[in-house]
């Protein structure tokens, strides 16, 4: 029982960052119908930027997280303007190939810039775990969960409570009619891709210090982001949050009770099951963005 509680806590921490990755990817698909293969690379980018700012520029850790996320937003905006905008109206295969190419370029750029050796990001959090009854958790991980939840909440408020958010959702649903209301659809696409990329970079910035930072860290994460999105249903924002936590728990409990070696396999097993039994995704909510 104590062990289960511990896994529950660990799974929640992991699930929070997975949810960030998932909503970024599902948002981009929902608005732009773009299958974004660069998502994992933006995660890597966020992690390396945090490393660079903290270790090389000696900036404050928290400021570095914020800056790394903003740099992710900027990189996402650049990808949209330079690569996706000229391809608007192209068929989905061309866009997919272009995105795979961009992912390869980003990954090799990371390899070239930082070398293949994994880096460690120093943090101001101590190494002694907080012990709460039967559960112990590293303060850094609690911080990661807190920030992830704050970002999820902030993003939800942006989408539900602001005019920009309403305009964004309207554009997902019917971009031509949204343009008749005065929405600049091209601008919404750039903003969407930038925000989605920023969320991936934030996830990388948060998890980089927890694990190690390496050029290929985004590979598995990119794949998992797709898994989360498929779990929740493509283009389904609440679904991506639920899918993110579901994947976190399955990996944590599977890894803890069955086998650590197959930790990543449990997530994909879950996806195969979901695709076989409920191909529309775990949650079929009416609030689908796409």
């Amino acid at each position: 029982m104590d062990q289960a509680l511990q896994h529950l806590v660990n799974g929640t921490v992991l699930g929070g960052t997975y949810a960030l990755l998932g909503i970024g990817l599902t948002l981009i698909f929902g608005v732009m119908r773009v299958v974004n293969f660069t998502h994992g690379e933006l995660y890597t980018f966020g992690a390396y930027m945090t490393y660079a700012l903290v270790s090389l520029l000696q900036l404050d850790f928290f400021l570095s997280l914020l800056l790394a996320t903003l740099l992710g937003v900027a990189l996402g905006a650049a990808i949209e303007v330079l690569l996706l905008r000229p391809l608007r109206g192209a068929d989905i295969d061309s866009v997919m190939l272009a995105m795979i190419g961009a992912a390869l370029v980003l990954q090799n750029a990371a390899m070239w810039a930082w070398g293949g050796v994994a880096k460690l990001v120093p943090t101001p959090f101590g190494g002694t775990p907080l012990v709460l009854g039967p559960v112990s958790v590293m303060p850094l991980r609690l911080f990661v969960l807190g920030v992830a939840c704050a970002l999820l909440l902030g993003f939800w408020l942006l989408l539900e409570r602001t005019r920009a958010g309403i305009a964004m959702r309207a554009t997902f649903q019917d971009s031509e009619t949204a343009s008749l209301m005065g929405v600049r659809v091209g601008w919404v696409s750039t903003a969407t891709f930038a925000i989605g990329s920023g969320l991936a970079a934030a996830a990388g910035a948060l998890l980089g210090p927890v694990f190690m930072v390496s050029p290929t860290m985004g590979d598995l994460v990119g794949l998992k982001a797709f898994a989360i999105v498929i779990l929740g249903g493509l283009g389904n924002l609440p679904g991506a949050v639920i899918g993110g936590f579901a994947l976190g728990y399955v990996e944590e409990f599977g890894g803890g009770f069955v086998s650590t070696e197959y930790r990543d396999a449990f997530g994909f097993l879950l996806i195969i099951l979901v695709l076989a039994i409920r191909p529309q995704g775990l949650v079929a909510l009416k609030e689908r963005v796409g």
Binding site: I166, Q173, A178, S179, M181
Partner: protein
């Protein structure tokens, strides 16, 4: 006043409009009638900026507006209530109305107009928090009209407002269109229901394969034999 002079539009190599000229003068309700594919919706989409004319001039209060983005045309006072209602299905009724006022910055005025729309369409108030996709067809049409009015336009274009509605609702929709005109707005309406369109309007244009083939007052077009034959059920109608 809105004026189109010799406007041509094509989809790829297919000409959709060839040399269309028409105008809507202050206070007027103008109808565009014609068969499917005659270019009625294309005309509206070109005015609202969704399509770019290949040739010709479009002026609004004397200023050229052809090729401006849809948002800029809306800002200048031309609203387009598109065919098939096109409400945002997963936004609430209230959010749909807010979308109509997206370009406005006067939040007090927007609140006032929301209240006015709810007063005019009590069903929308009852369902303000509900997703627009759950409304009936008639309610969605009311919402689409209200949304177009939320921008405080001077000219409203209605594309097939009666399409797919039950007869009693069709009547209601035409009443609303007339009400809009009585408030001093200009109206440009595309309608399949030629009899209704011609009876309501001040003037009308008949489009055939992308050209204006007849223009005149509603009464004149109602009297003309080719309009009767083609769009009003032939001679039997006259009897």
């Amino acid at each position: 006043m809105l004026r189109l002079e010799d406007v041509s539009v094509s989809y790829g190599r297919v000409a959709a409009l060839s040399g269309v000229s028409l105008e809507v003068r202050p206070g007027e309700l103008v109808s565009l009638i014609g068969a499917n594919g005659a270019g009625k919706s294309t005309t509206l989409k070109t005015i609202s900026g969704l399509l770019r004319p290949a040739a010709g001039r479009i002026t609004w209060d004397g200023a050229p507006i052809a090729g401006l983005p849809p948002g800029e045309i809306l800002r200048r006072g031309i609203a387009h209530c598109p065919e098939g209602r096109r409400v945002f299905p997963h936004l609430s009724v209230r959010e749909n109305l807010v979308m109509g006022a997206l370009l406005r910055r006067d939040s007090a005025g927007i609140r006032e107009d929301l209240e006015a729309m709810y007063a005019r369409f009590p069903r929308l108030r009852e369902r303000a928090a509900q997703a627009a996709g759950t409304l009936s067809g008639g309610e969605q049409q009311m919402l689409a009209i209200a949304r177009a009015l939320m921008s405080r336009p001077r000219l409203v274009m209605f594309d097939e407002p009666s399409l797919g509605l039950a007869p009693n609702l069709v009547e209601q929709v035409f009443e609303i269109v007339q009400e809009v005109r009585r408030q001093g707005l200009m109206v440009l309406m595309v309608e399949q229901n030629a009899l209704a369109a011609l009876s309501l309007c001040d003037r009308a244009y008949l489009l055939e394969t992308g050209r204006v083939v007849r223009a005149g007052t509603g009464a004149e077009l109602l009297e003309s034999s080719d309009v009767r034959e083609a769009y009003l059920g032939g001679r039997a109608f006259a009897a």
